[in-house]
Amino acid sequence: MTKTETPQSSGGDVRLHGISKTYGSFTAVQPLDLTVPAGSFFALLGASGCGKTTTLRMIAGLEEPTTGTVELSGRDVTALPPYKRQVNTVFQNYALFPHLDIYENVAFGLRRRGIKSVKKQVEEMLDLVQLGPMARRKPQQLSGGQQQRVAVARALINHPQVLLLDEPLGALDLKLRRQMQLELKRIQTEVGITFVHVTHDQEEAMTMADTVAVMNGGRVEQLGAPADLYENPGTTFVANFLGTSNLIEAEVVEAGGEELLLRAADTTLHLPAARCSASARKGEKVLAGVRPEKVALTHADDADGIAAEHNRLPGRIKDASFIGVSTQYVVEVPGLGELAVYEQNIERDGRLVPGAGIVLHWSRAHTFGLDATQDIQAGADLDEEAA
């Protein structure tokens, strides 16, 4: 999943040093250090109002940072106006020039830099986004997906060091969005320009980006490769915002070894010490987490067959919804509340119906530990809103 090697990079890197933005008494972005490696596809992910767009606009020069500096390919551009920066933006609602046709929209940046013969480049770029026959149409005569591609073409033709994308797929319907995600990813791999992509859609961020920075309340909560963030969330916000997590409040009963022993509702759970991001001394509380798809369901009658090294919790099925590839269960665990379980529909056990007594179990290695002082619900409802 992680791509460390960059294609023959024509992109530049972006370095933000202590950058922040305040409007009056409101802080949109807390002092932030961020490095986007050249040629990478970088996503800023977060719910609306988390400061991701402001951060992007500061890179573009459309917003002046209150503190800090912006560096592009090692050059401090903080004081440069947008038209002097080697970056281009794909705006949220595309911001295509309505009085110019597609051809002239795409040629705009080239013409401003005094390039006379734009024909070949524009035609090539329109072919890249498969809009060659549309060249003489006006933007309002195009569909949303086509306008989006014009916006990408208009920015890419300038071969910027960094391409900034501000929720570029937000206005498209789901199917088109998935298609454009792959398209953008293809283009990025082809041209090797650094992409910084702002989105609130965690699936979008994970499909497209090499590196994802999860933002919340003007801060970067966690930064890493999508799989890494998903498997090892560092905060409850990341655990809940990226997919769904079952978080169980537990007390550390034994620490020091390679595994921590936890006690939650009279059950002992094992947590690999390396996967616990919180300090976990004996007697302290931690949140033990596990992703719903990692959890298996076994009917209480067959509980003896469960591998001994699995963490297990007894419970009762409260609700089951069949969604095709999987069945999603809500399981009531006495003393712990409700946990979610996603079971793939391979061999369905007819006894697993609401009301049935079951045992939840999962490999110890799939357990992660978080600091228990955080809000256990952080990011949970935001995710639903975004999805």
Binding site: A60, G61, L62, P81, P82, Y83, K84, V87, N88, T89, F91, N93, A95, L96, F97, P98, H99, F108, G109, R112, R113, R154, A155, N158
Partner: protein, 312 residues
């Protein structure tokens, strides 16, 4: 839920539907005409009828004592044009200069209100409209006082030697402003400025500010952004504003009457005096028609030329 009206079966409905569809709009189709009726009546009584009356007047001959009769005397048009063409040319010239001045003064103002005024926007808008609270005539009379020979404006312009320059240019005479082309054009500019600012503001305000950002992002410096994005997108406002200024300015007579002398008479003054003083109704009517035709022709040409038929 109504229980009496049972829905028709699906296949029966397709046959039953067309007569129903035909019936309801029949009544509905008349609604627009009813709504148009007051306006149409108004136009017939106060626009079409006078126009026809005027047209018939322009081809009459006779005198006030003997009465006028329609004699199809079309030569009135040629005679009127032959005699008063200098006033025609002057009217068009003054109106054109005033329109250009309005555009030059009004565009920055409209731009400021649309993009830079922030929370002062409404205050500035009220200031633009405020002169309308006083009558056109009173305001023009006020200008007469402001530009009076012994007044502060003339004094200041004299001490700055501005009037020497304007006299050299031929728009003022001696050391005075009143009774010169400058005064008339200034009056026209002042009086019609709001008609320029309002449509300009409306079209500027409609421009998505993100387009400015996009232009800046695509290497356009602010001046280029204005030339390539803002100005082209404000063309509907420019066209509407220039028309709303030029048309009434070309037919105006108050400014020339109050601020000018006999050397600055515009075609409006000629028509007015033909109607009210000379009492030569056919000539006055013919001049009115010539003015209307001239403006119509110029406006049509202008709109074609500016390529904004679909935008106006």
């Amino acid at each position: 839920m109504t229980t009496t009206a049972t829905p028709a079966p699906p296949d029966g409905r397709s046959e039953a539907a067309p007569p129903v569809l035909r019936k309801t709009p029949a009544r509905k189709r008349l609604v627009p005409y009813w709504l148009l009726l007051p306006g149409i009546l108004w136009l017939i009584v106060f626009f079409a009828a006078p126009l026809v009356y005027q047209a018939s007047t322009s081809i009459q001959t006779g005198s006030l004592e003997e009465g006028f009769k329609v004699t199809w005397h079309v030569a009135t048009y040629w005679d009127a044009l032959g005699e008063y063409w200098p006033q025609f040319i002057r009217s068009m010239g003054y109106a054109a200069v005033a329109t250009v001045l309005c555009l030059v003064l009004g565009y920055p103002l409209a731009y400021l209100i649309a993009f830079k005024a922030g929370r002062w926007r409404n205050v500035v808008m009220i200031l633009v409209i405020a002169p309308f609270f006083t009558s056109f005539l009173i305001r023009t009379l006020a200008w007469k006082t402001i530009l009076a020979d012994g007044g502060p404006v003339v004094g200041l312009l004299n001490s700055l030697h501005v009037l020497d320059v304007t006299s050299w240019l031929g728009v003022t005479e001696g050391h005075r402003v009143l009774a010169t082309p400058l005064a008339v054009v200034c009056g026209l500019t002042y009086n019609f400025l709001p008609f320029m600012v309002l449509p300009l503001y409306t079209s500027l305000e409609r421009i998505d500010p993100r387009l400015h950002e996009a232009a800046g992002d695509l290497y356009a410096r602010p001046s280029t952004t204005f030339r390539r994005v803002t100005f082209p997108l404000s063309m509907p406002g420019v066209v509407a504003g220039t028309l709303l200024t030029f048309i009434p300015a070309a037919g105006d007579y108050i400014n020339a009457e109050l601020l000018g002398s006999t050397d600055q008479k515009m075609i409006g003054n000629v028509i007015q005096s033909q109607f009210l003083r000379v009492l030569d109704y056919p000539t006055a009517a013919a001049l009115s028609f010539i003015l209307m035709a001239a403006i119509l022709a110029m406006v049509t040409f202008y709109i074609r030329k500016s390529g904004t038929e679909d935008l106006v």
